[in-house]
Symmetry: C2
Subunit: 341 residues, 2 copies
């Protein structure tokens, strides 16, 4: 099948899902097979039905169907450290090769030692140094290629699988279901915008222009051969976390989402911003309460505390009060990863 035809078919199928005549056929097949029956699954199905039902009180015009997903801990595993930090650590040897004096300096010395436990304990100001040294100073295209190469090769130590295998199957189903109903799915991540864009289209079906993330300034300049390049600079432009999420959504998307999905206190403001708009709106939070299949951390509901992806009891309480759906990984997902039962 050629690309034009594939595009044509995809558009027709995408639209067909919201065309009344064909909706019956879709309703028969479960669009969310990895989601167990329960309140969150029902809430999703009800929301999508209500917002796409022409003439209904909660109908949302197609152009306003914006759905935003956090990435780390919402679309894929974030424990024990963010995947992007692993990338940064893995890049340190190359950075030191270019600037040998760094070999004897902290925090580079710790990273070069390979002591993962020590690396996981590095304080924030050390992490910032590593991030600045490994994520800036190069052409955006060189960076993108390097990330794409790394993510195709690097393996998570617990499951011995590529990091992109650690994407949650129920979320891929949900994103596909939303898109089939005319929603534009965005990733709104505290992670680096350029980092996530390097693989989001391939692994999530989310194109670069639908990734909002923490972004540094880029500068348009000319290389030695006179070719214009966009250089990544160590100046922070958007810190896409907490209040920075609605700010980033406004900057890149320019409309208030109808649907938001997060998993930690970093997503609180995105959920709030989404749901205080008029008309039909929905927010969901994933609770990691499944240490067997993934990880268990909170500290909400007595789960262990965690340095990464904190879900405090106050957020759980706020969600109950405001009608945000809290998804229990253990109870609401009958599968977590595509490769595991």
């Amino acid at each position: 099948m050629d690309l034009n035809r594939r595009h044509f078919v995809a558009l027709v199928l995408g639209a067909a899902a919201s065309a009344p005549a064909l909706r019956g056929a879709f309703a028969q097949a479960d669009p969310l097979p990895s989601w167990s029956d329960g309140a969150p699954k029902k809430a999703i199905l009800d929301f999508v039905k209500a917002t796409t039902e022409s003439g209904g009180a909660k109908f949302v015009p197609p152009e306003e169907r914006i759905a935003c997903f956090d990435q780390d801990g919402t679309l894929w595993v974030e424990q024990p450290i963010y995947t992007q930090l692993v990338y940064c650590f893995d890049r340190v040897p190359d950075v030191v090769k270019a600037k040998p004096r760094l070999a004897g300096e902290q925090p580079f010395k710790t990273v070069l030692s390979g002591d993962r436990a020590a690396m996981a304990r590095l304080p924030m100001n050390d992490l910032v140094k590593i991030v600045a040294a490994t994520l800036t100073g190069m052409d955006v295209e060189v960076f993108r290629e390097d990330v794409a190469k790394w993510i195709a090769e690097a393996h998570d130590p617990r499951w011995k699988r590529p990091y992109t295998d650690l994407i949650y199957l129920p979320q891929l189903e949900l994103m596909r279901f939303l898109r089939a109903n005319g929603y534009k799915t965005y990733i709104v991540t505290g992670g680096g915008q350029d980092f996530v864009r390097a693989y989001a289209e391939r692994v999530y079906g989310v194109p670069p222009e639908q990734v909002v993330g923490t972004a540094g300034r880029v500068r348009y300049q000319y290389d030695a051969a006179g070719k214009p390049v966009l250089m990544k600079e160590p100046t922070l432009l958007l810190n896409d976390d907490k209040a920075g999420k609605p700010e980033g959504i406004h900057l890149v998307i320019g409309r208030r989402p109808r649907f938001a999905f997060g998993n930690s206190s970093g997503d609180r403001e995105m959920c709030e911003y989404t749901t205080v708009g008029g008309g039909a709106r929905m927010a969901m939070l994933l609770l990691h309460d499944d240490g067997d299949r993934e990880y268990a951390y909170g500290p909400a509901r007595g789960l262990p505390n965690s340095r990464v992806g904190t879900f405090p009891q106050a957020l759980d309480d706020e969600a109950q009060k405001k009608g945000w759906s809290v998804v229990s990984m253990k109870k609401d997902w009958n599968r977590v990863f595509a490769w595991a039962n």
Copy 2:
């Protein structure tokens, strides 16, 4: 026709234009009737054909079909001053009402005098003061509603028509033609991102998420009633002009465009960035050489100099050298506005 069905039809037609079986039908009707036969029109038709012809050497996958248009002087009239500045001037009385001490201060005094010639001569640092006073300090939603209201009512003094009537018909045809062939049309403007987003969907068919413009920081905060709002702050985040255009394109879109259309030295870098990528790429520049139907300014090709939208001879020379298409309004457009012959 209900919204769902309209969306369905639009998607099918949009895709159909690039489906080989139906292209014949499209080719019979001229998609660019306001464009006169000549090199620029031929270049557009050839480019779109080549980039959408499945299996062709210059085929561009649908997801990479990004077309970027400057706004002022490219999509609508920019003379004698940018429309957004007229909005700022019109807002000054309200600003002074809220802060009466400004009434006796410059440049507010000049604006309040209503002397348009003096307003047009205000130096850049005075304009910055007016811009900061009128475009920041309010909730983004209040701002959007105010712009939408203003642009529905304000009239251009020369033609006594709403500013949105000063959009060039040939460009609306071109954007529609590109979209019908799977291109996503973006506006990449030196004007304010929030300003242009307030009307771009209605008048250009370009949704907010496809408007890249000069942007200030917004801050997520709570109003007196405890409602979260995004406040516009006077801190510049992106100056979307000259080198800032490729930088803004990277920030918001994250891919290099295939097609760029500008009209001044502010668009040089966008055209350059677009065309130095691999594969099929195209850049166009509009030359305002039609004082009867619109305005004549350059100073390229001996046209009068202008404070707004400078098109220097060096840009004309660069365009010739690099194969960027220079469009003569006088020669290449048989119509300029939808309401004029």
